[in-house]
Symmetry: C2
Subunit: 443 residues, 2 copies
Amino acid sequence: MLKITLDHIIELLEHEKYEELKEKINQLHPGDAAQIINELPAEYQVKVFSYLSPEIASDVINDLHDELREDVLESIQQNRLVEIIDEMDSDEATDIAAELADHQLKDVLQKIDKEDSDEIKQLLVYDEDTAGGIMQKEIIAVNKEMNRAEMIDHIRAIYDDVEKLYYIFVTDKENKLIGILEVSKLLLCHDEMKAVDIMDEDVISAPVGMDQEEVARIFRKYDIYILPVVDKENHLLGRITVDDIIDVIDDEASEDVYKMVGLENEDKVFTSPLSSVKKRLPWLTLNLFTALLVSSVVGIFEGTIARLSFLAVLMPIVAGLGGNSGTQTLTVITRGIALGELTLHNTYRAIVKEITVGIINGLLIGSVAMLIAYLLKGNIILGAVLGISMVCNMFIAGLVGSSIPVVMKTLKIDPALASSVIITMLTDIGGFATFLGLATLML
Amino acid sequence: MLKITLDHIIELLEHEKYEELKEKINQLHPGDAAQIINELPAEYQVKVFSYLSPEIASDVINDLHDELREDVLESIQQNRLVEIIDEMDSDEATDIAAELADHQLKDVLQKIDKEDSDEIKQLLVYDEDTAGGIMQKEIIAVNKEMNRAEMIDHIRAIYDDVEKLYYIFVTDKENKLIGILEVSKLLLCHDEMKAVDIMDEDVISAPVGMDQEEVARIFRKYDIYILPVVDKENHLLGRITVDDIIDVIDDEASEDVYKMVGLENEDKVFTSPLSSVKKRLPWLTLNLFTALLVSSVVGIFEGTIARLSFLAVLMPIVAGLGGNSGTQTLTVITRGIALGELTLHNTYRAIVKEITVGIINGLLIGSVAMLIAYLLKGNIILGAVLGISMVCNMFIAGLVGSSIPVVMKTLKIDPALASSVIITMLTDIGGFATFLGLATLML
C-alpha cells in the first residue's frame, strides 16, 4: 500500500517542498500516514500532521503515539480540531474529547454537529475501560417488522455514516435488542421476508458496564466481529468492532507484562525520560525496601560469612536460580489467568503442578550445582548445603510464583500486580536464608 | 449465552444422566462448550467431548487446551474424526491434520470429501507461522465482468460453505486479485453494475509466505477484518479472518513474555509436570552457568569480603535494583519492537532515553541508599561506594536492556530472546564488580 517512503518524506521536508509533500502524504492510507509520522524525527512530526486533510487526519490522530498526540492537540488550531472531529466516528471522537482541556472541549462540542456532540456527551459518561467506553453509536438497527425493501431503504439512508456494515441489529418497538442479521443474508433473501423472519435470535451482547478485558474474552470465545452493547433493560446503545478489540488485547497484553516488572502502562518507548523516571520511581523505591529486607536477612548471617567468605561467593547462585524459576512460574500462571485458561475449578491442580516442577528442577539443577561446588572447593558438605538449599528455594519459587497471583485473583486484586519484585524478594530471602542457615548449622 | 453451568454438567455426570447431558451440551454455543470442557475435572473431559455432535465438535476441538486436544485425538474413533473434519473450515481442518499421526492422516484424507482433502493437502505445505499456514480456502471470488445478478447467483450457490461473508474478492480471468467488494455495497448497487465498477481497487493483500506476526501488523494498521492471500504473481489463494489473527496476537504476546523469562510456548498452565520440567531445564542450565559466572566475579573479591563481611550483606541491593531496572528497560523495548513502534529510524533515541532514565533513577535511588547505608553503618565512604555503584549499575541496566534487543533485531535474531537471564547476568556482574571493586579501592 505504501506509496512513499519515510526517507522520501524527509527529503521533501529538507528541501522545503511542502506542496509536493502535502499531495503525497494525503494519498496514503491513514494507517501508513500514521506510521510515517510516528517514525519521523521529532522536529517534523507535528508539521507533517498539519498537512493532512481533516478526513485523513481524523483516522491518523488516534494512531499517533500518546505523547505525540498530546503535542498535536496542544498546538492545533481550534477550527481545524473541529473539522477533524466532525469526520470521526463517535468512539474515536470521544477518545480525543477525553484528552482535551475543559475550555477546548466545551468549544468543540458547541461547534460540531449537534447530533455528534450529543453522542460524544453520552459516551464520555462511561468509564473508558468498559464496553461503554469503547463502543460507538454508529449502528444500523431495524424494527423487527420491516421487510426487505424497507430495510434496504433504511440502510441506504444512513449508509454513509456507518463503516464496516456487516450486521444489522433488529429491535422491537421499545428499541430492545432481539436479534442480529448478517447483511449477506439480506442480500440473498426474498422481498417479502421481514427482519424477524431471517434474523438470528441467539444474539450475543455486552452490558454497557462490562470490563473491556471481559468484552475481549467474548470476542475470543464466540469468534465474532461486531458486538452490540445494551443497557440493563436490553435497550440497544451501540456496538463494538473487532478492530477496537485488537487495541484492547494489545493494551491488556502490554499491561500484564508491564505490571509484572513494575511498569506503568503509559511508559512507552518514546515517553519523555523525565516522565518515565517519575513513573518508575515509586516501584524502584519499593524495590529498594525489598532489597533492604533481603539484605537484613543476609545480615543475620554476617558472622558466618565473616568466617566462611566463600559463602558470599556462592550465595548469588541460589538466589539467582530461585528468582528465575519463580518468574517463570509467575509468567505461566498470570498468562493463564489473562487468557481465561485458569479458573477457580482448576487452580489447585495448577499450583500442585508448579510446585512439582520446582522440586524436580531443583533436584536436577541442585545436583549439578552440588557436584560443581564439590569439585571447585573439595568440600562435600558445602556441596550438599548448596544443593539442598537450591531444592528448597525452587520449591519456594513454585509455591509463591503460583499461589500469590491465584490468591490475588481470588481477593479480586489484579493478579498481574504480583510483580516479579515480590516474587524475587521471597525467593531471595528463601535462598539466602536456607543457604546461609544450613551453612551455619553444618559447616 | 451459557444455558447450563459447569456444576450442573458435573452433577449430570455423577448421576450418569448421559442422555440429558448430551442434549444440554449440544445446545450450547461451541465457544461455551469448549470452555466447559476445558474447565471440567480431567477424568470427564474426553467423555463429554465424545457426546458432542460432529458439527459442534468441529468448532470445539481447536479451542481445547493443547494437551487435552492431543488426548482427544489419540482416543477418537477414526470414523468420528472423519465426520468432525468434514464439518470444518479448511484452515482448522489443516491445523488438526498437522497434529495427526501419519497413518491417521492418510486414512482421513482418503475418507473425507475429495475437494476438502485437496485443500488440506495444499494448506499443509505452508509453514504454520505464515499467512499460508493460517489462511482458509473458503472464499467467494467473482470475475470482474460479472454483473450484480450474476454475483448474487454465484454467492447463493456457495453461500453455505463460506462463513463471515462480508467481502467478495474480484479477480481477472487469470484469477489474479484486482479488487475487493463489500457485500453491503452489492446490496445497495444497481442491477446493471459490474464488479469492476463498484469494487475497491486499493485492495490490501498478504503474500502467502509472510510471517503471521507481520500479517497481524497489517490487520492492526489498516483496521481490516478479512485479508486476501496471494502468491507472487498475485493469484488469489485464500483469505485470513480477524478471529484467527486474534489467536495469533494472543500467541505472539504470550511468546514474547515467555521468551523473556526463558519459557517455551507450549509450556502452559496444564502442560504435564514432566513435560514442563523438560522444557524449562535447558534454560535453567544456562542460568546455572550465568550464575556461576556471576559467582566467579564475586570470587575475585573474596579477600575483600573476608575482611569486610558487611559488603556481602549490602551487595544484593546493588544487584537487585540493577536487575529490575534492566528488566523494565528490556520490557519497554521488546514490547515496542513487537508492536512495531520501534524501528531502525528511531532506535538511537530510544537507547539514549533508557540510559538517561537509568542514570537519573540511579542518582535518586542511589542517594537514598547512600543515606541509609550511612545511617546504618555510620560510614560515609561505604555509603558513597554503595551510591556510586548503584548509579553505575542502573546506567548499565539502561544500556544493556535497550541495546541488546535492538542489536539482536538488527542481526535478525528474535529480540524477545534477549531474555531476562542475560540482562540479569550483566547487571549482576556490573553491580557486584563496581560495588566490590570500589570497596576494595576505597575502604
